[in-house]
Symmetry: C2
């Protein structure tokens, strides 16, 4: 018996996450990619993928379609819009939804695809572009066995940690919303800590180094804290590792779910407002650590 | 030349933190202890300390006076009230303020003591009762060289990590306020995450285990998260590792400092309100992880 041949794979959305994922898949699988921006398609083509002219063209003959677009609107357009992927797929194909869109959206899309005999793996990813390219993502999955088995060769190339949350699309999104609640609140808390420490005249390096390993520590305080400190000394905005407006979208999903479930989340709601303030202040496309300057502008206190 | 003899030490306040600190000091130093509760004094006496009838009696002939009381009011009473310690001390003695009282209180008390020739080490501690008894505390210090040298034998027996924040009393309190901002917000965020995950029907053990090591992780999520999950299955309230109302006091200090410094701290303020709600709900003396039941009572959702 021969091992199954590697699945023909389409990647739709070649942005900050989609391109490194597509590039990595293209080292082992036949990959056809689509993005609305031709220069992103060209980058994939230069690394061994195929440049497709539409989602439908990318999906034609694909066994696995990985979607890495920004939000629910883009996801529905890519699948069900003009030249969308869904109409081009054969029954039995599997879609992998890597975007954070919330449980309701994942369930609705999976139901619509199921009507065409297409399987869905709800698989929101965490980890950022560098880890995406290294196959070092955290992926939290909601999918039944058949869909999961069909998508496994693709997921295995992308994830260092894969947690199957439950058997239904939406289950992965639910856990991702919890992840983003904690991540978004922890970044905002780090910003409050750094902004207040600065106003009190404390040495910010001492603050970060003395607190990061103790009871006040978090991944985000250790990761974003030094970048927030650097923000005050840097002449230019920092390189963007993760855009600020991601948390406008993702905390919006989290607080929406919480409202639907009638669970108060006062800190997540306060953090959401803070990211909205940051976006409104012109920081949407800046690194999320720049949120500290909303609480304490560079010219203040020093 | 002989090494300096171990300093005669008084400990005032033999509560959850004061008693284990006093017991540990008594294994190496002559320790005289005072607490308003006679049974706490008896516990120290049984472990090698001396039972003093008042702060003044504990402090008489002491070279180092460690204060481990609850708040600023108790601290001023212990030092400057009837039979207070300050009047009994010799010039050159050093006080060690281990309570979290805020920078203004520490500065005001140190100034008043300095008028009597008494030194002050501002030394708020973190770590809880068990680590207090093991000499494994984090202590953040604001003190000049002379005071620090005089208190060093005592601090060395209590701290595994000692960070000198600055030369002035109040500097340690400022960093402690930042520590408590992060710690208090992280516990509240963990509570929102667990309460929301429960309402969404997720397996709470999966939530904690899959998120604690990633970008959503914090010391408090890893430490309090499992206790919050246990809260929902336990028939009795959990053992109290750290009282909920500590964060009513400490976040009150933090938000007060922030207001004085004109720095917005919307998450810390939301967390403070949540702990006030918890206190008002009868949870003041419960473990702080019980805050999750304010967001999602045990009888809800399941």
């Amino acid at each position: 018996m021969h091992p199954a041949p590697p699945p023909r794979t389409a990647v739709i959305g070649l942005g900050a996450m989609g391109l490194p994922m597509a590039r990595r898949l293209a080292t082992r699988l036949p990959v056809s990619g689509y993005d609305i921006a031709a220069d992103r398609r060209a980058l994939l083509a230069a690394d061994g993928g195929t440049d497709a002219a539409s989602p439908a063209e990318a999906a034609r003959d694909a066994e696995v379609v990985l979607l890495a677009v920004r939000d629910r609107t883009q996801l529905e357009e890519a699948l069900f819009g003009a030249d969308g992927a869904a109409a081009a797929l054969h029954p039995g194909a599997v879609t992998v939804l890597t975007s954070t869109v919330g449980p309701d959206a994942a369930r609705a899309i999976a139901d619509r695809l199921a009507g065409q005999g297409i399987l869905t793996v709800d698989a929101p990813v965490s980890g950022g572009p560098v880890r995406a390219g290294d196959g070092d993502l955290l992926i939290v999955v909601g999918a039944g066995d058949e869909a999961l088995t069909a998508a496994q060769p693709v997921l295995d190339l992308l994830a260092s940690t894969l947690t199957v949350v439950g058997p239904h699309p939406g289950d992965g999104q639910a856990l991702k919303a919890i992840n983003q609640l904690l991540a978004g609140v922890h970044i905002a808390a780090a910003a409050e800590a750094i902004a207040l420490a600065r106003a009190l005249g404390l040495n910010l390096h001492t603050v970060v180094e003395s607190l990061r390993h103790g009871a006040a520590g978090s991944f985000m305080f250790a990761d974003r804290g030094p970048r927030m400190v650097e923000t005050y000394s840097a002449e230019q905005p920092l390189d963007v590792k993760s855009r600020l407006d991601i948390f406008v979208k993702d905390l919006g999903i989290t607080t929406g779910i919480a409202k639907s479930a009638h669970v108060p989340v006062p800190l997540a709601a306060a953090a959401e407002q803070l990211y909205l303030l940051g976006e409104r202040s012109g920081l949407a496309a800046h690194d999320d650590s720049s949120i500290v300057t909303v609480l304490s502008p560079k010219e203040a206190d020093r």
